[in-house]
């Protein structure tokens, strides 16, 4: 097979920014078959591929890409699903640039161009990695739209395992255990399975129908999913293991507890946690006018935070009709933790980045009267009208290795403190693990950040037979890391139960 030696990736076809900023349809449209084959031929089938160790679930990347290059898309899918239970999801939301694609040989090959003046070949930077994520997405979408749903025949082994939470770690854990013949029951607190894939990541990045297709696949494997069950309240882990006969539990309850900056005015009307804003829009479909759940359609929105959740919180209000959306982040552009692609997409859609700034106060509208009966009734009484921010500069590196932001004083710069007018302020500065499991499960221990403590090798918690993974253990991280932890949990739950038997 001849390799395609073009230095650049096939670009991802997307909706035009001026169009997509007004709708909730998916931004990326996906490769065509021709693009996929062309891109797959850029893979050089390395003997010691760098991409595979970069993947938290170790997908055999060169093997699936080789199938794509030959046009055997279903075969490619079968290779991916040996390692990943959620390829359509990961192909969309994985940070490939810092994982598999980071180590791709094509990104390490210099690009040479002839200098027209000297006539000599000169190095013009490096090539681009193979679009592994885009190919994964293509293969998963091809399978979903072409292959008939199958019901795998699995011999049950008679052992029962409970999985708490149906986000990425829980789904991945359930998938691997079900494949081994375990009777798996997933307990989900919300009314629909999928966790952060349903309530957190917006429709325009990850269509909810795709998540539900993956969930349906699990059900066909025999996994039971019980929604509306809050483990810790409706039933405890101890009860699951003593009264209901589960031999082991996997806790994948995520990091859902939102943090607030602790500044004056943060309880004003119009101040949301990103979780609340996104849950209203994604889970409760508040972007549809028929929705029974309200959402503010703000004109001017400020979001504090620079991660992927912040990018989602910036791009969602645009689609609800906002005219100005501003990202306030206390470090600089280089330090933005969000994926580059998400930052670029947000910018193309018109998001303004006000970097090296930090909110210090929410200014509330206190004019007029809050009473609807008063002559000077102000329906916005008590609502946010501006965010007061303070410029920052970067100081010495902190514990995370990133340079610590330090406030610029008004003495140093008379314009160091200023106001950004807005009618909605969204806080996207991180989340902590939900404390419910810890509060209601004797024997489970957490670190000072509220993260469940696990044996790093086996993912077992401090309680016998209870394993955990995903954001509940690490604090807010990525979908793929959570999936990796779910798979590891499944492996050691299998070992734990077999050793006991």
């Amino acid at each position: 097979m001849a390799f395609n030696m073009r230095a650049t990736k096939n670009p991802m076809p997307t909706q035009a920014p001026e169009v997509r900023r007004h709708n909730f349809d998916e931004v990326a449209i996906g490769y065509t078959e021709e693009m996929a084959i062309d891109e797959a031929k850029r893979c050089m089938q390395c003997k010691n591929p760098g991409c595979v160790p970069g993947c938290p679930v170790h997908i055999n990347i060169p093997a699936f890409i080789a199938e794509v290059a030959e046009g055997r898309f279903e075969e490619a899918y079968q290779i991916i699903t040996q390692s990943s239970s959620l390829p359509a999801v990961c192909g969309r939301v994985c940070p490939q640039e810092s994982q598999c694609e980071k180590n791709c040989i094509r990104a390490k090959m210099p690009v040479r161009e002839k200098n027209p003046e000297t006539g000599k070949m000169e190095v013009k930077g490096m090539g681009e990695a193979v679009g592994i994520g885009r190919l994964e997405r293509f293969v998963a979408d091809y399978h979903r739209t072409h292959a008939a749903p199958t019901t795998p025949e699995i011999k049950k082994n008679g052992h029962k395992v409970a999985v708490i939470g149906s986000g990425p770690s829980g789904l991945a854990c359930a998938y691997d255990l079900a494949k081994e013949g375990y009777e798996v029951t997933i307990f989900e607190a919300l009314h629909v399975a999928g966790g952060v894939l349903m309530y957190g990541i917006p429709e325009f990045r990850l269509p909810k129908a795709i998540v539900q297709t993956e969930v349906e696949g699990l059900k066909r494997m025999g996994v039971k999913i019980l929604t509306d069950v809050v483990v810790g309240r409706s039933v405890t882990i101890d009860e699951l293991m003593s009264e209901y006969g589960f031999e082991a539990c996997f806790v994948g309850s995520g990091a859902g507890l939102p943090r607030f900056p602790g500044i004056p005015g943060e309880n004003a009307k119009g101040v949301y946690s990103a979780n609340e804003f996104l849950t209203r829009v994604n889970l409760m479909k508040a972007y549809q006018s028929s929705s029974a759940t309200p959402i503010q359609h703000a004109k001017n929105v400020v979001v504090v935070g620079g991660g992927n959740v912040a990018m989602d919180a910036l791009r969602t209000p645009l689609r609800l009709g906002a005219e100005h959306v501003t990202c306030v982040y206390r470090r600089g552009r280089e330090e933005l933790p969000a994926r580059k692609e998400e930052i670029e997409h947000a910018e193309e859609e018109g998001v303004v980045f006000d970097l090296l700034t930090n909110p210090i106060e929410v200014i509330e509208d206190r004019s007029g009267s809050p009473s609807p009966r008063a002559a000077d009734f102000n329906p916005n009484y008590g609502a946010v009208k501006a965010i007061k921010v303070q410029k920052q500069k970067l100081g010495e590196p902190d514990a995370s290795g990133r340079r610590k932001p330090v406030p610029v004083s008004p003495e140093e710069d008379p314009n160091a403190i200023y106001e950004i007018p807005c009618d909605c302020f969204i806080v996207a500065i991180g989340t902590s693990p939900n404390p419910l499991i810890k509060q209601t499960t004797p024997g489970i221990e957490t670190n000072p950040h509220g993260c469940l403590i696990v044996n790093e090798e086996t993912n077992e918690t401090t309680k016998d037979g209870v394993f955990a993974g995903g954001d509940a253990v690490t604090g807010a991280a990525t979908v793929i890391l959570a999936m990796g932890a779910g798979r590891k949990g499944a492996k050691y739950i299998d070992e734990y139960i077999k050793n006991k038997a």
Partner: protein, 283 residues
């Protein structure tokens, strides 16, 4: 699906539903709440548990029709099923060890106050219930309160039921009557409109009687995830769904809580009117 096994109209705007929800019934404690959705498209609606029967597997809620979603809920009849019914959520009320307690309920808040009176009465406490309604025709749970209280003080705004005046007046009179006796209240539990709870807390602070209030902020998930239900208590941010809904009445910032509850007022009014119009047209 969760079947409605009984529906009673308690007054023109307040309805009692008994719902088949065995898992919730098994765990439900006074002070906790549930979240329901009428249909797969419905809003997540929190309601405080008004009673439960672990043997029959049923949970009782009492609601007032105040908006589009409760209007829709009110169209459901006995035998109909609700799409979702999850709980019990929140922390149970702390009732153990209380000897002389005033339970203050205002309007629909009486529905939530009653199970606490009942439970305390069952625990052998001296329960003095103070219930307030705008008018006689809005009174609910009169017999129930009577049976669960050693003393029952009835107040109405227009004087058509019990004494004329607010619950604060009724409570203050009783506090004064008990002063210097060995029946002084060791706690007041107040549940009702925010302004009522605020005024009760101001009153009891004057007399130094510990007061617990049950907050009812706007919520979505009810499991600590959205932060929408945040309440300032003693200057610290608390989430009503996981840290409450009961809080120390002296410490709650009622003004902020009251404002936050008006966040979607105009939207709610429009939806409610749309709902009413659909009903009028018989759709």
């Amino acid at each position: 699906m969760f079947k409605i096994v009984k529906k009673d109209v308690l007054n023109p705007t307040i309805t009692r539903l008994v719902v088949d929800a065995p898992f919730v019934a098994k765990k439900a404690q006074p002070g906790q709440f549930i979240i329901l959705r009428t249909t797969a498209e419905g809003e997540r609606l929190p309601f405080t548990i008004a009673g439960s029967d672990p043997e029959k597997g049923t949970v009782t809620i009492i609601y007032q029709v105040v908006g589009a979603s409760t209007l829709e809920l009110n169209q459901f009849e006995e035998g109909d099923c609700l799409a979702d019914f999850v709980g019990p959520l929140g922390k149970p009320s702390e009732l153990e060890g209380l000897k002389h307690v005033a339970i203050v309920g205002g309007g629909a808040g009486c529905a939530i106050a009653y199970p606490l009176a009942y439970k305390l009465h069952e625990l052998g406490a001296d329960v003095c219930s103070v219930a307030g309604f705008r008018s006689k025709d809005l009174v609910i749970l009169e017999e129930e309160f009577d049976a669960a209280s050693k003393k029952f003080i009835k107040m109405s705004d227009d004087g058509t039921w019990g004494e004329q005046g607010f619950v604060t007046a009724g409570l203050e009179k009783e506090i004064l009557a008990r002063q210097g006796t060995d029946e002084q209240f060791d706690e007041v539990i107040a549940i009702g409109p925010i302004i009522m709870m605020k005024n009760i807390a101001l009153l009891t602070k004057k007399y130094g009687i510990k007061t617990v209030v049950s907050m009812n902020p706007i919520m979505i998930d009810g499991t600590g995830m959205c932060g929408c239900c945040r309440v300032m208590v003693g200057g610290k941010m608390k989430f009503a769904c996981v840290d409450g809904p009961d809080f120390d009445g002296w410490e709650v910032d009622f003004d902020s809580a009251s404002e936050r509850n008006t966040m979607y007022r105009s939207w709610e009014r429009t939806k409610y009117e749309e709902g009413c119009n659909l009903l009028k047209e018989g759709k």
